[in-house]
């Protein structure tokens, strides 16, 4: 019996007198108990599939061809009344942002009650009993206390668990999980993914698991479909697809992601970007041809059909036999950084905040950073890893001077800069710059790129002429790999990756010796992430700056950084050379962090440590 079947499904977007293909020729079937992983870069149309199933398409989008059948009924042609009855009951959703999935002004109990009454309770059953039973099933402790809480009083992981409990409360036949773990920490990601798998096994639910992480998808899915520009590039059994990808795009995606174990390798850099909706119509051949390392003239002549290359394994490529020949570039030779080991040094750095005093809390200090010792050598990349709330960003703010340490000492090239007065600020400014996390917030939307990157020249006391600034902007843009005409554009006209490049260029303008980078590649596609990581390595070769690289992504840190500090609740629990720490972690926290990352080898057992430490009701 099939739960969901798509046959030649096409979704188009209409703008003006034209229509643009959003999804084309989609074919898949789901049987009970099966997990289908949907993988692709942003803009590939992954989320659009979920929205097509719920018929919750943005205005101007419509299904133009094909059928989408849920248990034998066509979801597209179905009366909306009937569809509404199915949604939330037989078809459940888990959203990407757990906090926006819950109503902030209602308690968890009120929302749970509303949902349970809608899906119907067994005769004589009280909603409260049922809610507690559902919480029990997703391992949420203190269920009774939870019912009275508002979503903002809970952590992201707990909200996501509540949403999972709600989704599975009706014993749905189909579950659509749209990047359910992207907004969460690695350790919580592992727990949530394992939980979805556990619940799915219990009820025999069919799951569509949407993610951009091929490694994660291959760990939990039975079958994977890789989407490229709205069209399936490859579909096959998860383990087989991951270990022997047939489509060059799958292979490139895999190689663009740094490894977490084994030998380090270079990253495959996919050039440019996925073609946008507007240009798709003009592409006659394979949509991936312009970025494909194996493309030949025949690729641009006709759209390659989805051909079976192994049982149940199909790929839309005419040269699948060449795919294994794509190899990552060699790793840049290891640098010996023996100069000035402690260029930047922190000793017992502490940042304490005063929190509300109460009779029960007589020492109202919260230490975001608690006695941290670290050094940063010249030209050295040091990674700082840890979950959110571990004090990574607070440490970064102390180093760049956005905050002042309450205790401890910070020295830069032998000079004490702990005090953070105006002379320390001026001294620090010439040496340390910061690259911010969110390019959306870090770039002033009302400034042109040329003006943003040369902002340092505008600071008081430096009066660079317009001509000088434009020249400097052109230089910087060339360094970070943007075309010169980008100088006249506004941030809103750039893609996420381009914005992040501008963000880096601004920090580089005054030629600092140290860069502090706070989660600068999180939230970007793997291909863009690979481009940025290699850009940073290239820039280091040219300028020789050192970097404090803050990230929750351990494999990225492993690829980029010479040394690593592991932070937990404001303290450094482990530090050392990246290779050593990752190969042989000593502290249990480091071990659990590493175990949370899906392994590179798809056959290996993924056994994240499922401790419940983060789940107390606070």
């Amino acid at each position: 019996m099939t739960i969901l079947a798509a046959r030649n499904l096409c979704v188009d977007s209409f703008g003006g007198n034209e229509s643009f293909p959003v999804l084309s020729d989609l074919n898949f079937t789901l049987v009970p108990g099966m997990i289908l992983g949907l993988v692709g870069e942003s803009g590939a149309g992954k989320s659009m599939i979920g929205r097509t199933i719920s018929q919750f398409l943005p205005s101007g989008f419509a299904v133009t061809k094909g059928t989408l059948e849920f248990a034998g009924e066509d979801l597209v042609a179905m009366a909306s009344e009937r569809r509404r009855n199915l949604l939330g009951r037989d078809i459940a959703f888990i959203p990407q942002e757990p906090l926006s999935g819950l109503n902030p002004v209602l308690t968890v109990g009120q929302q749970m009650r509303e949902h349970l009454l809608r899906i119907g309770l067994a005769p004589g059953e009280h909603w409260r009993q049922r809610a507690l039973a559902e919480f029990e099933a997703v391992h949420l402790p203190h269920g009774a206390a939870l019912l009275g809480k508002y979503p903002h009083q809970l952590s992201g992981g707990m909200c996501q668990r509540i949403l999972i409990a709600m989704a599975f409360a009706s014993r749905p036949r189909l579950l659509i999980a749209d990047e359910p773990t992207t907004a969460l920490d690695v350790t919580i990601q592992a727990r949530i993914v394992k939980l979805i798998a556990e619940m799915q096994k219990r009820d025999g639910t069919a799951v569509i698991f949407i993610t951009h992480d091929l490694r994660l998808a291959s760990q939990i899915s039975d079958e994977i479909m890789v989407l490229y520009a709205g069209r399936p590039a490859e579909r096959g059994p998860a383990k087989q697809l991951f270990s022997a990808p047939a489509h060059p795009y799958t292979r490139c995606l895999q190689l663009a992601n740094p490894t977490i174990s084994g030998e380090r390798r270079g990253l495959y850099i996919l050039p440019e970007r996925m073609p946008g909706l507007r240009v798709l119509k003009d592409i006659t051949g394979c949509r991936f041809a312009s970025r494909c390392p194996n493309a030949v003239a025949a690729c641009t002549e006709a759209e390659p059909p989805l051909a079976e290359i192994a049982p149940d394994h199909i790929a839309a490529c005419i040269r699948t036999e060449k795919t294994p020949e794509i190899v990552p570039p060699p790793l840049a030779p290891a640098r010996n950084v023996e100069t000035a080991k402690n260029y930047l040094q922190g000793e017992k750095l502490t940042k304490a905040y005063t929190v509300a005093w109460s009779p029960f809390n007589r020492n109202p200090k919260f230490r975001a950073v608690n006695g941290v010792d670290f050094t940063l050598g010249e030209g050295e990349f040091v990674g700082i890893v840890g979950e959110s709330g571990s004090g990574k960003s607070s440490l970064a703010r102390l180093v760049v001077g956005l905050d002042t340490a309450t205790e401890g000492r910070l020295t830069l090239a032998g000079r004490d800069i702990t005090a953070n007065g105006s002379s320390e600020k001026a001294y620090r400014r010439d040496h340390i710059q910061m690259v911010f996390q969110d390019p959306q917030s870090a770039l002033n939307p009302r400034r042109q790129v040329g003006s943003i990157v040369t902002q340092a020249n505008e600071a008081s006391g430096l009066h660079a002429s317009k001509r000088e600034r434009m020249d400097r902007a052109a230089e910087l843009l060339a360094e970070i790999g943007l075309p010169p005409d980008a100088a006249m554009r506004f941030p809103s006209q750039l893609s996420g990756g381009q914005k992040q490049r501008v963000n880096i260029a601004r920090a580089l303008c005054s030629v600092p010796r140290i860069l502090v980078a706070d989660e600068i590649v999180s939230g970007l596609d793997v291909s863009v992430q690979a481009q940025l990581l290699d850009l940073l390595l290239k820039l280091r070769d040219e300028h020789g700056f050192s970097m404090m690289f803050i990230s929750h992504d351990l494999s990225v840190v492993r690829y980029l950084c010479d040394r690593v500090l592991v932070m937990y609740r404001g303290e450094v629990v482990e530090s050392g050379a990246t290779e050593t720490v990752f190969a042989n972690p000593q502290h249990p926290y480091t071990q659990s962090l590493l175990a949370s990352v899906p392994p590179d080898d798809v056959q290996a057992e993924w056994s994240p440590v499922l401790t419940e430490t983060g789940y107390q009701v606070e």
Binding site: A426, M434, F436, S441, A442, N444, R446, Q455, G461, S492
Partner: protein, 285 residues
Amino acid sequence: MKHLPLWLRSGRVQTGLVIIAILAVCAIFAPWIAPNDPNEQNLLSILTPPAWADGSDAMFPLGTDSLGRCILSRLIFGTRVALTVAFIASFGAMIIGAILAHIAGYFGGWVDWLIGRVVEIWLSFPPVILSLILMVGLGTGIRNVILAIVLVDWTRFCRVLRSEVLVLRRRDYVAAAQLVGFSHWRTITREILPGTLPLLITLMSLEMGVAVIVEAILSFVGMSVGADTPAWGQMIADARQNIYEAPLNLLCPVFAIFFAVFGFNILGDGLRRSLDTRLTQTERT
């Protein structure tokens, strides 16, 4: 129409600008447009009906009031007071409110606390009473009307703008500007002000409408400009006694006030829709 900036393409903005332009032309060219001297009393023809009624006088298209003054001329000259007050008072209130809002929102801490409390105390006075008290203290005259409105209404700007400054203050680009060595002044003028400007312009446009109403209230109770300067509020007050014989005398200034306030409000609404960063297309993508 393609080359017009986005905000000018809005129908609301265009409507508002046309209304304000008509009023401005009336105000600037009043002596040439008005058929009569607005203060000339013609006691032989008091309460003349308008041109379309029986017994009208061609000299007075909208008739005369109880002292035989030309209604149309008084309306046209009244525009001068209304617009002068609207523009200067809202500009003044904006300057004071915006400066304090940026200081409070940017620096935070005790400065913010102090400014916040001052605004709260200020707002606890009923605005009309406060302006009446001010007028009693300051004496009549257009300069004092403006001063009174500025002193009453700056809080409106301060409140709304401060919260916008607080939002922008937390953006990473403000932190980035500080890290490259921007002074506070430069950070506020280059990074924050461009972000608050759309809201500021919108608020100012709405404030102009409010200023027209406050001026009308003050001149209605005779606390505004002197009796020798025609103002819309005065005309309403004058027409009260003859409301049954000559209802038009009352309706004309009421309509003039409505027209002006409508113009400013629709302009403000249009500007808000097109300038507000949370709504524009470029920001969304």
